[in-house]
Protein backbone atom coordinates (compact mmCIF):
# COMPACT_ATOMS: atom_id res chain seq x y z
CA UNK A 1 0.00 0.00 0.00
CA UNK A 2 1.09 3.49 -0.78
CA UNK A 3 1.86 5.47 2.37
CA UNK A 4 1.29 8.90 0.84
CA UNK A 5 -2.08 7.86 -0.56
CA UNK A 6 -2.98 6.33 2.78
CA UNK A 7 -2.22 9.51 4.70
CA UNK A 8 -4.03 11.70 2.17
CA UNK A 9 -7.15 9.53 2.27
CA UNK A 10 -7.05 9.36 6.06
CA UNK A 11 -6.89 13.15 6.36
CA UNK A 12 -9.72 13.56 3.83
CA UNK A 13 -11.96 11.01 5.54
CA UNK A 14 -11.42 12.16 9.10
CA UNK A 15 -11.74 15.87 8.34
CA UNK A 16 -14.93 15.21 6.38
CA UNK A 17 -16.35 13.14 9.21
CA UNK A 18 -15.38 15.71 11.83
CA UNK A 19 -16.98 18.49 9.81
CA UNK A 20 -20.12 16.38 9.36
CA UNK A 21 -20.33 15.79 13.09
CA UNK A 22 -19.70 19.33 14.31
CA UNK A 23 -20.98 21.83 11.74
CA UNK A 24 -24.09 23.65 12.97
CA UNK A 25 -25.92 23.76 9.63
CA UNK A 26 -27.49 20.44 8.74
CA UNK A 27 -27.14 20.74 4.97
CA UNK A 28 -23.40 21.43 5.26
CA UNK A 29 -23.05 18.41 7.50
CA UNK A 30 -24.82 16.24 4.91
CA UNK A 31 -22.45 17.42 2.18
CA UNK A 32 -19.37 16.74 4.31
CA UNK A 33 -20.81 13.32 5.08
CA UNK A 34 -20.53 12.63 1.34
CA UNK A 35 -16.83 13.58 1.53
CA UNK A 36 -16.31 11.17 4.41
CA UNK A 37 -18.08 8.35 2.55
CA UNK A 38 -16.01 8.92 -0.58
CA UNK A 39 -12.92 8.73 1.62
CA UNK A 40 -14.05 5.41 3.05
CA UNK A 41 -14.64 4.12 -0.49
CA UNK A 42 -11.09 5.20 -1.35
CA UNK A 43 -9.88 3.17 1.63
CA UNK A 44 -11.66 0.15 0.19
CA UNK A 45 -9.94 0.69 -3.15
CA UNK A 46 -6.60 1.04 -1.38
CA UNK A 47 -7.19 -2.17 0.55
CA UNK A 48 -7.92 -4.08 -2.66
CA UNK A 49 -11.67 -4.51 -2.21
CA UNK A 50 -12.77 -2.68 -5.34
CA UNK A 51 -16.27 -4.12 -5.40
CA UNK A 52 -16.98 -2.97 -1.84
CA UNK A 53 -15.69 0.48 -2.73
CA UNK A 54 -18.04 0.68 -5.70
CA UNK A 55 -20.95 -0.57 -3.60
CA UNK A 56 -20.09 2.03 -0.97
CA UNK A 57 -20.20 4.82 -3.55
CA UNK A 58 -23.43 3.57 -5.11
CA UNK A 59 -25.26 2.98 -1.86
CA UNK A 60 -23.96 5.71 0.43
CA UNK A 61 -23.19 8.55 -1.93
CA UNK A 62 -25.89 7.69 -4.43
CA UNK A 63 -28.74 6.69 -2.15
CA UNK A 64 -28.22 7.40 1.53
CA UNK A 65 -26.81 10.90 1.12
CA UNK A 66 -29.59 11.88 -1.29
CA UNK A 67 -32.14 10.44 1.13
CA UNK A 68 -30.66 12.47 3.99
CA UNK A 69 -30.76 15.66 1.92
CA UNK A 70 -34.40 14.97 0.99
CA UNK A 71 -35.30 14.46 4.63
CA UNK A 72 -33.54 17.68 5.62
CA UNK A 73 -35.48 19.59 2.99
CA UNK A 74 -38.77 17.96 4.02
CA UNK A 75 -38.36 18.68 7.71
CA UNK A 76 -36.72 22.09 7.53
CA UNK A 77 -38.94 24.44 9.43
CA UNK A 78 -37.34 26.75 11.93
CA UNK A 79 -33.79 26.02 10.66
CA UNK A 80 -33.14 25.27 14.25
CA UNK A 81 -29.85 26.39 15.64
CA UNK A 82 -29.20 23.39 17.77
CA UNK A 83 -25.51 24.17 17.41
CA UNK A 84 -23.18 23.88 20.30
CA UNK A 85 -21.98 20.43 21.19
CA UNK A 86 -23.01 18.72 24.33
CA UNK A 87 -19.73 18.37 26.17
CA UNK A 88 -20.73 15.17 27.95
CA UNK A 89 -20.98 13.42 24.57
CA UNK A 90 -17.61 14.81 23.50
CA UNK A 91 -15.98 13.55 26.68
CA UNK A 92 -17.45 10.08 26.18
CA UNK A 93 -16.31 9.97 22.53
CA UNK A 94 -12.75 11.03 23.41
CA UNK A 95 -12.61 8.52 26.24
CA UNK A 96 -13.75 5.71 23.94
CA UNK A 97 -11.15 6.75 21.37
CA UNK A 98 -8.37 6.74 23.95
CA UNK A 99 -9.44 3.32 25.14
CA UNK A 100 -9.51 1.91 21.61
CA UNK A 101 -6.15 3.51 20.78
CA UNK A 102 -4.61 2.01 23.91
CA UNK A 103 -5.96 -1.42 23.02
CA UNK A 104 -4.77 -1.23 19.38
CA UNK A 105 -1.29 0.01 20.20
CA UNK A 106 -0.82 -2.57 22.93
CA UNK A 107 -1.68 -5.53 20.69
CA UNK A 108 1.42 -6.72 18.87
CA UNK A 109 -0.59 -9.08 16.63
CA UNK A 110 -2.08 -6.22 14.62
CA UNK A 111 1.25 -4.55 13.93
CA UNK A 112 1.72 -6.37 10.61
CA UNK A 113 2.16 -5.29 7.02
CA UNK A 114 -0.05 -6.51 4.19
CA UNK A 115 1.14 -9.44 2.16
CA UNK A 116 0.75 -9.74 -1.60
CA UNK A 117 -2.75 -10.52 -2.75
CA UNK A 118 -4.54 -11.82 -5.82
CA UNK A 119 -7.07 -9.37 -7.14
CA UNK A 120 -10.52 -10.15 -5.76
CA UNK A 121 -12.58 -10.25 -8.93
CA UNK A 122 -16.28 -9.60 -9.19
CA UNK A 123 -16.59 -13.10 -10.67
CA UNK A 124 -15.19 -14.61 -7.49
CA UNK A 125 -17.52 -12.49 -5.34
CA UNK A 126 -20.46 -13.59 -7.45
CA UNK A 127 -19.50 -17.25 -7.12
CA UNK A 128 -19.16 -16.98 -3.35
CA UNK A 129 -22.44 -15.08 -3.06
CA UNK A 130 -24.26 -17.78 -4.99
CA UNK A 131 -22.71 -20.72 -3.10
CA UNK A 132 -21.52 -20.10 0.45
CA UNK A 133 -23.52 -16.97 1.15
CA UNK A 134 -26.77 -17.75 -0.63
CA UNK A 135 -28.84 -17.84 2.58
CA UNK A 136 -27.52 -14.53 3.90
CA UNK A 137 -28.18 -13.08 0.45
CA UNK A 138 -31.82 -14.22 0.53
CA UNK A 139 -32.20 -12.87 4.06
CA UNK A 140 -30.84 -9.49 2.99
CA UNK A 141 -33.31 -9.49 0.12
CA UNK A 142 -36.20 -10.11 2.51
CA UNK A 143 -34.82 -7.47 4.88
CA UNK A 144 -34.59 -4.86 2.14
CA UNK A 145 -38.14 -5.61 1.01
CA UNK A 146 -39.39 -5.31 4.58
CA UNK A 147 -37.49 -2.06 5.06
CA UNK A 148 -38.97 -0.66 1.84
CA UNK A 149 -42.51 -1.53 2.91
CA UNK A 150 -41.91 -0.31 6.46
CA UNK A 151 -40.54 3.03 5.31
CA UNK A 152 -43.52 3.49 2.99
CA UNK A 153 -45.98 2.64 5.78
CA UNK A 154 -44.28 5.04 8.17
CA UNK A 155 -44.42 8.05 5.90
CA UNK A 156 -47.88 7.41 4.46
CA UNK A 157 -50.48 9.94 5.49
CA UNK A 158 -52.72 8.33 8.05
CA UNK A 159 -56.40 8.65 7.36
CA UNK A 160 -58.38 9.78 10.36
CA UNK A 161 -62.03 8.66 10.19
Amino acid sequence: MNTAAFIAIAVLTLSGALAAATLPRLIHAALFLVVAFVGIAAFYFLLGAEFVGLAQIFVYVGAVAVLIVFTILLTRREEEQTGGLNWGGAVVAVAVFIGLLWAILRTPAVNIAAGPIDALTVRRIGEVLMTDYVWPLQCVGVLLTAALLGALLLVMEEKRP
Binding site: M1, T3, F6, T13, L14, L18, A20, A21, T22, L26, A29, L33, F37, I40, F43, Y44, L47, A49, F51, V52, V59, Y60, V64, L67, I68, I72, T75, R77, E80, T82, L85, N86, W87, G88, G89, A90, A93, V96, F97, L100, L101, T107, V110, N111, I112, A113, A114, G115, I117, D118, L120, R124, I125, P136, V140, L144, A147, L148, G150, L154
Partner: protein, 105 residues
Protein backbone atom coordinates in the same frame (compact mmCIF):
# COMPACT_ATOMS: atom_id res chain seq x y z
CA UNK B 1 7.42 1.66 5.08
CA UNK B 2 3.88 0.68 4.23
CA UNK B 3 0.87 1.20 6.49
CA UNK B 4 0.28 -1.57 8.98
CA UNK B 5 -2.98 -3.04 10.16
CA UNK B 6 -2.85 -0.93 13.33
CA UNK B 7 -2.80 2.26 11.24
CA UNK B 8 -6.04 1.25 9.52
CA UNK B 9 -7.54 0.25 12.86
CA UNK B 10 -6.65 3.62 14.38
CA UNK B 11 -8.32 5.43 11.46
CA UNK B 12 -11.39 3.26 11.83
CA UNK B 13 -11.49 3.83 15.61
CA UNK B 14 -11.27 7.60 15.05
CA UNK B 15 -14.13 7.41 12.55
CA UNK B 16 -16.20 5.39 15.02
CA UNK B 17 -15.61 7.92 17.77
CA UNK B 18 -16.53 10.84 15.51
CA UNK B 19 -19.79 9.02 14.78
CA UNK B 20 -20.27 8.46 18.49
CA UNK B 21 -19.67 12.17 19.08
CA UNK B 22 -22.32 13.07 16.51
CA UNK B 23 -24.81 10.57 17.91
CA UNK B 24 -24.34 11.56 21.56
CA UNK B 25 -23.86 15.29 21.48
CA UNK B 26 -26.25 16.61 18.84
CA UNK B 27 -29.87 17.45 19.44
CA UNK B 28 -31.08 16.97 15.89
CA UNK B 29 -32.50 13.56 14.94
CA UNK B 30 -30.84 13.57 11.52
CA UNK B 31 -27.43 14.22 13.08
CA UNK B 32 -27.94 11.16 15.27
CA UNK B 33 -28.68 9.08 12.16
CA UNK B 34 -25.56 10.49 10.45
CA UNK B 35 -23.50 9.44 13.45
CA UNK B 36 -24.92 5.92 13.37
CA UNK B 37 -24.16 5.64 9.65
CA UNK B 38 -20.57 6.70 10.35
CA UNK B 39 -20.18 4.10 13.08
CA UNK B 40 -21.53 1.37 10.77
CA UNK B 41 -19.13 2.41 8.01
CA UNK B 42 -16.21 2.30 10.46
CA UNK B 43 -17.14 -1.24 11.46
CA UNK B 44 -17.34 -2.34 7.81
CA UNK B 45 -13.92 -0.75 7.18
CA UNK B 46 -12.52 -2.85 10.02
CA UNK B 47 -13.85 -6.04 8.45
CA UNK B 48 -12.21 -5.26 5.11
CA UNK B 49 -8.94 -4.32 6.82
CA UNK B 50 -8.81 -7.60 8.74
CA UNK B 51 -9.53 -9.48 5.49
CA UNK B 52 -6.72 -7.68 3.66
CA UNK B 53 -4.13 -8.30 6.37
CA UNK B 54 -5.16 -11.87 7.15
CA UNK B 55 -2.76 -14.72 6.33
CA UNK B 56 -5.16 -16.21 3.76
CA UNK B 57 -6.96 -13.50 1.79
CA UNK B 58 -8.23 -16.07 -0.70
CA UNK B 59 -11.34 -16.55 1.43
CA UNK B 60 -13.29 -13.28 1.01
CA UNK B 61 -15.20 -13.50 4.31
CA UNK B 62 -14.47 -9.94 5.46
CA UNK B 63 -15.49 -8.53 2.10
CA UNK B 64 -18.78 -10.40 2.25
CA UNK B 65 -19.51 -9.09 5.74
CA UNK B 66 -18.78 -5.55 4.53
CA UNK B 67 -21.16 -5.95 1.57
CA UNK B 68 -23.95 -7.21 3.83
CA UNK B 69 -23.21 -4.41 6.32
CA UNK B 70 -23.62 -1.84 3.54
CA UNK B 71 -26.96 -3.37 2.52
CA UNK B 72 -28.21 -3.37 6.12
CA UNK B 73 -27.02 0.20 6.63
CA UNK B 74 -29.07 1.24 3.60
CA UNK B 75 -32.18 -0.40 5.06
CA UNK B 76 -31.50 1.23 8.42
CA UNK B 77 -31.12 4.66 6.81
CA UNK B 78 -34.40 4.30 4.91
CA UNK B 79 -36.40 3.28 7.98
CA UNK B 80 -34.66 5.80 10.24
CA UNK B 81 -35.31 8.73 7.94
CA UNK B 82 -38.93 7.62 7.46
CA UNK B 83 -39.24 7.62 11.27
CA UNK B 84 -37.81 11.14 11.38
CA UNK B 85 -40.42 12.32 8.88
CA UNK B 86 -43.24 10.53 10.73
CA UNK B 87 -42.17 12.01 14.08
CA UNK B 88 -41.79 15.46 12.50
CA UNK B 89 -45.43 15.29 11.42
CA UNK B 90 -46.56 14.84 15.00
CA UNK B 91 -44.23 17.14 16.89
CA UNK B 92 -43.39 19.71 14.19
CA UNK B 93 -39.76 19.57 15.26
CA UNK B 94 -36.75 17.32 14.84
CA UNK B 95 -35.10 18.24 18.12
CA UNK B 96 -34.96 15.02 20.13
CA UNK B 97 -35.20 16.89 23.43
CA UNK B 98 -38.72 17.98 22.54
CA UNK B 99 -40.04 14.47 21.87
CA UNK B 100 -41.50 14.26 25.32
CA UNK B 101 -45.22 13.75 24.90
CA UNK B 102 -46.40 10.17 25.15
CA UNK B 103 -49.19 10.18 22.61
CA UNK B 104 -49.13 11.80 19.21
CA UNK B 105 -51.30 14.89 19.05
Amino acid sequence: MTPTLSAVLVISAALFCIGLLAALSRRHAIFILIGIEMMLAAAALNFVAFWRFSPEPQQPTGVMVAIFAIAIAAAEAAVGLALVIAVYRHYRTTNVDKFDRGEGS
